[in-house]
Symmetry: D2
Subunit: 223 residues, 4 copies
């Protein structure tokens, strides 16, 4: 089992906004360093520069639009996201669904500036479709389990194993993450055993009273 | 004629991205200081913190979503926008149109954290509608003139005067800006004479070879 | 108290689809005729022609796009809606929210072909905004009460009276409907007493085991 | 070369609205019958019932939403579309782009009621993605050529051959159509020679002064 990719999505949680984003990013960096694992953070667009300029941690954007330089107002421009310090981005999160053509454009715009791409999907069929677009990662997250506290690895393990199988067939160069309800060490371990290479998670860490302790528990069963 | 509000929208222009955003913001600050006028900037979401922490200039967001703290990914959360250093925000720009209920929610979310609100509209009817929602400003910009180089004050002066009249009737506390094709001193002067209290502009400054000179020209006829 | 306007929205309820739409439309026609009231129906777009060509009842579309003749695929074109037999349309229903500029365009497109316009809104502020666009009706429906079985006239009477007051101030030519949770005679009576000129309703009639009886109850307290 | 599928999209062209839709549908039926080819029509949602109940021609919807029976207003419900007389539907046309998860839901909803599915795409990558969702057809149409009068088979033949190749690899059960700029017999012939099994077209037929003659020319080189 190789080293997993863990990405903590800060959403618009108050605890992960502004200075709070910097603090949780520091916890991710510290637990990542002590465990030897890669723990990335996905703060809000407005917090990318603040976090990336203060904390040595992989920073992902929560969203990138498939637009170039030009007359676009209120969009997440890949070049700006990267210049602010991000190394990658979520695309098509269940709370920010995109049109198919825009997912393709977002992946291309992100690749053009060197951002790693994680396309979120809701089931095996859309995982297959997303893999056909050639992102770095597809992250399958059944929407009904997001924020539920019930880990996808327990509630619906087949969505993970089937996603891994279909992506292997469509494009073996694409890696599979999973998410929804993930918060504990056993969840991450189960996710890896099902064939995913890592997890997306959010409230289980960001809204925890002690994010550092929550992160330590998360990585406790991986070595 | 009281002092106008000038807001320069950086869109996703390369010249106004990252360090470029900081440089143009400095030009706005300098020309604002020397002319005694308020020249605000509207950089991309990812650049708000970078600009606001380095340049003493009023910073506006290009967009705010009508969402609160919680499970929202890839959204512009008013609290985060403000904590990054913005004093206000554009809402419903023609390149980022919102649903009516979301404009209302965005105004409320912005007001709740003290952000000044500028709702963009495309004609007199939508200006009246936007004014009924009680923002600080409505900025009327006929979409066909945006980026055209033909100033709204010349091509369609009635859209400005009629907007001023209808807003006065709906809510005299709301102020009217105008935009589209504005770049020169005569455009700003004409806009003020038509009853608006200021202008939105973009490419005429941001894509200029010499933004400082362009800004000086812009304010040259106001005293 | 003048004669109210009652519009029954069939949504995508199975009971109100295809031949079911024709049957419920007949019930509306019959109860309308016997009570002397106007009871309109809002079937799905695909059912407008079928209903209008078979039943003598006012037919409203559930939606009209603000597009003209041309290269638009999958849109509800006002001319086609009217030619299919509709006399009016809902616009911006809470289940089909539109951007502000598109609500304005939809109202204009509808008026151009003689369709009566009913713009749905979610609170007093958006009611005021919608009234400023000059539709025939604004229908205020707090989203949290839609389908709840709790009538807006009981749960939130102020949203109706305040809507009536604000619309009177913005444009006295616009009439106010209300909706959400309306199904019984006492609900309609209360809605009229609060100053609205009619109601939108849906599941209380369409999903009733006996729509004719439900309609008779609805109109039983109006004379 | 087997018999091609030809689908004529009426968009919101005035010539293809209401009684005009019925007339062009008759032309499609007649030329289809005399040539032995399948020529389907895609009228507006409001015209499906009118056309299907009067003309013996395969009728496709321009759009289906991925919703079931229930509280959905202004949506194209697959069951209603089928009950109105459609045998299939376009999904994700370039003028009605959908989110990835909604394309998947629309395909499923359509299949559940027996509608044939044609998912439109804009390039080879999105064609691959759409094929992974398992529709009956994918129709690749470079947006910049739609309505241009320049046939995709001449301007960009590789987008067709590459689409055919990638779909064969992803799911050989999915068939490939192409479209954009198609109007003449040589265009259809070229499209078939490039490996597609048919074409989508629109203005070349619907806006023609003589649709029957235009259709005859279209099928003149196929036998």
């Amino acid at each position: 089992m190789s080293s997993p990719l863990i990405v903590v999505n800060f959403k618009t949680y108050l605890q992960g906004t502004g200075e709070g984003a910097v603090e949780i990013a520091r916890a991710c960096r510290d637990v990542g360093a002590s465990s030897g694992l890669t723990i990335g953070v996905a703060p809000q667009l407005c917090d990318i520069y603040r976090v990336a300029s203060q904390v040595d941690v992989p920073v992902y954007s929560q969203h990138v639009d498939g637009v170039g330089a030009g007359s676009f107002t209120g969009h997440a421009f890949a070049r700006c996201v990267r210049d602010a310090g991000a190394c990658g981005t979520l695309i098509n999160h269940s709370e920010r669904r995109l049109r198919l053509a825009d997912i393709d454009a977002s992946i291309q715009a992100s690749k053009d500036v060197g951002l790693s791409t994680i396309v979120c999907t809701n089931n095996v069929a859309t995982t297959a479709a997303a893999a056909a677009l050639g992102p770095d990662y597809v992250a399958v997250e059944p929407p009904e389990l997001i924020g539920s506290g019930i880990p996808v690895s327990k509630a619906d393990p087949e969505v993970v194993t089937d996603s891994v199988a279909v992506v292997e067939r469509i494009d073996p160069g694409v890696k599979v993450l999973c998410g929804a309800g993930i918060s504990k060490g056993e969840d991450l371990k189960a996710a890896m055993e099902l064939g995913s290479v890592g997890v997306l998670l959010a409230s289980g860490i960001v809204k925890s009273k002690d994010p550092t302790a929550a992160l330590r528990d998360l990585v406790s069963l991986i070595r």
